[in-house]
């Protein structure tokens, strides 16, 4: 017999596919159906309630929500350990991303419990993030001196490590800024770039994977502890299924995003395709990326992480994400 629960759930951005395809349908339809109406939810995307994502974990911790979906990058400021799952420029293939997420899960789970009093339920991505430029960017070398709009610490470090200048402006201001060359490039996900019509103002799609907006679902520990063992087991099983389908949906969406922005590699099924040039990465680009990672991005992340969590932070990371992706974070 399952407990009768009505959960307050906050999802990610209402206009993006993770809410539309994964989070919204899961809480509003799948969960009530599969639990025979026992577990229901008032689920809303964060955009509908006017919150930005930084405050999601604190609000989960103090019990404003029972379940929160959020993006790891937004809580990195409190917790460099969690940030380790989505450091800019590290993973470049879906295989590596999925492998890293699984290897890093126990570390994140512990961190969520200790820092936020929350039970980690799922870790899943958004479509991959890359550079969209209104400039001739055909190699990492071409990034020298370019103004790139970034929004996280490690993105800024990566851009700097690759020779560019990082600029921080609001998302809403990116399209006009790209068009008027206030910035040369912006970073966002493949499908979000298409949906926000970046393809209308940018010419070059530079597929260096900056990140995957790794996201999580977590439950307030108080809510979790009040549930019966049977309910806990049921919720965990449901979340596993959720996780599987979220990965599958986002990988498909990522491919479609590239097709729709560039008009290459298939048929765009969500609208008129754009015709951006899809740049191909060379071995030199890969070498430059690894150099920037070890000399700037990972070095600085390691300093932040050791300051907060001690040297074990670096060992843990190198043994999991680092091993899978073939880079090493240096000890400060």
């Amino acid at each position: 017999e399952l407990d009768t629960l009505n959960l307050k759930v906050v999802g990610t951005w209402g206009n993006l596919s993770n809410w539309k395809v994964n989070e919204g349908p899961f809480w509003n339809e799948t969960m009530p159906e599969k639990s025979g109406g026992k577990i229901t939810a008032d689920a809303v995307p964060q955009t509908d309630v006017g919150i930005k994502g930084f405050e999601v974990m604190r609000m989960l911790k103090i019990g404003v929500f029972d379940v929160a979906h959020g993006v790891v990058g937004y809580i990195a400021g409190e917790d460099p350990v969690v940030e380790g799952i989505d450091i800019a420029g590290v993973a470049q293939s879906w295989e590596d991303v999925r492998g890293s997420a699984e290897a890093y899960w126990p570390i994140m789970e512990k961190q969520f419990e200790e820092t936020y009093g929350a039970k980690l339920l799922a870790v899943y991505p958004f479509p991959s993030q890359m550079l969209w430029c209104n400039a001739e960017v055909n190699s990492v070398e071409d990034l020298t001196g370019k103004k790139v709009r970034v929004y996280t610490t490690s993105m800024g470090d990566l851009v700097e490590g690759l020779g560019g200048t990082s600029v921080t402006i609001a998302f809403a201001e990116v399209v006009p800024a790209l068009e008027k060359k206030v910035v040369d490039c912006g970073i966002t996900g493949t499908m979000p770039a298409y949906q926000a019509k970046w393809y209308q103002v940018a010419t070059h799609a530079f597929p260096l994977r900056v990140g995957y907006s790794m996201s999580f679902a977590a439950m307030n520990l108080g809510t979790w502890n009040r549930m019966s063992d049977e309910t806990k087991a049921f919720v965990e099983k449901m979340m596993e299924e959720y996780n599987e389908s979220a990965w599958k949906n986002m990988i498909a969406e990522d491919e479609m995003g590239i097709i729709c922005n560039t008009g290459q590699g298939g048929t765009c099924t969500v609208g008129e395709p754009g015709n951006m040039k899809l740049v191909e990465l060379s071995d030199a680009d890969t070498a430059a990326r690894k150099k920037a990672l070890e000399e700037v991005v990972l070095k600085r992340w390691a300093e932040r992480c050791v300051e907060k969590a001690g040297e074990s932070c670096i060992d843990d990371w190198n043994a999991t994400v680092g091993k899978i992706t073939g880079v090493t974070a240096p000890k400060p």
Binding site: K8, N15, D42, V44, D48, V49, G50, I51, K52, F54, E55, R58, M59, I62, G63, V64, I169, A170, A172, E173, V175, P176, A177, E179, K180, K181, V182, Q200
Partner: protein, 427 residues
């Protein structure tokens, strides 16, 4: 749920509790009644994120900009120059009022700052020259509302923020409707003064030589306009940054006019901070209320309710216009914008209307709200600057311009290109 919410709000407002406290208390009450009292724990996180919102930094910047232009005498010179150029029309100085409002609107993001500034400069003329006081006051209260339609505009920035619409596109879209509305105001003055010449005042003596001589006085506002609007399209700055550039430009102008001093800055700062504090108290409370309304599902309930009425898209649009007209009588415009835009815009866009176009239509509805009693902030501003006489003068005086606004709404609905043509050239 809808009923409870409305009753609580009406009671709080009837008690003359400050709007900020009324909205916030409503949010707390709804949390207790419908959500088990957990949402209030998020109060601080919510307020902090609102408080550091970069897009809102434009609010104090635009208010400060207006204060500096006024205290440096730049607004006064602009007005005097427009008198030379526009007062030959039937209605005389009232055209200068509207022209000065339109021109000041092009430098300021605020309707109230526009009405207050032009009102301060123009009102001494009303008795000197024997104008009908009501219509004269009406041109100031209504003309001031252009401040949020003609770019730059705080309200368009907030609308863009709430609905994820591009602010530069909104600015471009507001330009032509803003000029047309100013034109409609002037037509209203001409019509009234032609049929009732007693409304008009003494003619202003002028000559082409004098007109040429005052032209340079129009340059400073034009310069500010180029800085705060031009810089966006020249690819130099974002709309929010542009407001800061405007403040620096105004400071430089004030220095050129030798009116920059510590005491002048102190006065400008006091005025600016008082206004900003008041507005931010309301915004903080309104955004918390939004959060509660979303979490308890009232927002979706309202959207579902409107959809369930089974109206055609056009009928829904009309219903929304009437809704804003009624609400606008009773609510302060910025709080109205913040509490309704996130709910109404998705419904309207879902029906196939353009979000940029709707933003402009909404601005005209907000302009109407600024001059409809009992809560019409611009009415109070103009009355406040005037300082004596019955309030009803201003309320009667704005009626012709309210009609002009309805005409503008009809034009926008009939010819959406009025708003969308200019952005279509750029985007």
């Amino acid at each position: 749920m809808l009923g409870t919410t409305l009753i609580i709000l009406i009671v709080l407002i009837a008690l003359s509790i400050p709007i900020a406290a009324a909205l916030g208390t409503l949010g707390l009450a709804l949390d207790q009644i419908f959500s088990g009292g957990f949402l209030w724990r998020g109060l601080a996180d919510n307020a902090w994120q609102t408080s550091i919102e970069f897009l809102l930094v434009a609010i104090p910047m635009f208010v400060l900009l207006g204060e500096i232009l006024l205290r440096a005498g730049i607004a006064q010179r602009m007005y005097a120059a427009l008198v030379q150029w526009l007062s030959w029309l039937p209605g005389g100085l009232m055209h200068s009022n509207i022209g000065a409002c339109a021109m000041f609107a092009a430098t300021s993001g605020s309707s109230v700052a526009t009405a207050a500034t032009v009102g301060t400069v123009a009102l001494p003329e009303v008795e000197k020259r024997g104008y009908n006081e009501r219509l004269f006051l009406g041109t100031l209260a209504a003309g001031g509302t252009l401040g949020i339609l003609i770019p730059p505009s705080i309200n368009l920035i907030v609308y863009g923020l709430l609905t994820d619409t591009s602010v530069p596109e909104l600015y471009l879209a507001g330009f032509i409707p803003g000029l047309i509305l100013a034109g409609l105001f002037m037509v209203a003055v001409i019509l009234f003064c032609t049929f009732r010449p007693s409304l008009d005042g003494d003619k202003v003596e002028t000559s082409w030589l004098q007109r040429a001589r005052v032209l340079p006085d129009l340059l400073p506002p034009l310069g500010i306009f180029l800085v705060v609007v031009g810089s966006i399209y020249a690819g130099i700055a974002t709309p929010t940054e542009a407001a800061s550039l405007g403040v620096v430009a105004a400071l430089i102008l004030a220095a050129c006019y030798r009116s920059l001093s510590i005491s002048m800055l102190r006065e400008a700062i006091e005025g600016t901070m008082k206004t900003t504090a008041m507005v931010m108290l309301i915004i903080m409370a309104a955004i918390f209320l939004n959060f509660v309304l979303g979490m308890i599902g009232l927002t979706q309930a309202l959207a579902t309710f409107i959809t369930s009425l089974g109206l055609t898209p056009f009928q829904t649009l009309l219903a929304v216009i009437v809704f804003y007209l009624v609400l606008g009588c009773f609510m302060e415009t910025l709080s109205m914008l913040i509490t309704t835009a996130p709910i109404i815009t998705p419904i309207i866009v879902g029906l196939g209307y353009d979000p940029v176009w709707f933003g402009i239509l909404l601005m005209v509805m907000l302009e109407a709200a600024l001059i409809t009693p009992p809560i019409g902030v611009n009415l109070y501003v103009v009355q406040g600057v005037r300082g004596s006489g019955p309030m009803s003068d201003v309320m009667v005086g704005v009626i012709p311009f309210l009609l002009a606004m309805f005409a503008m709404v009809a034009l926008l609905v009939g010819f959406p290109e009025l708003a969308l043509w200019l952005p279509s050239l750029f985007y």
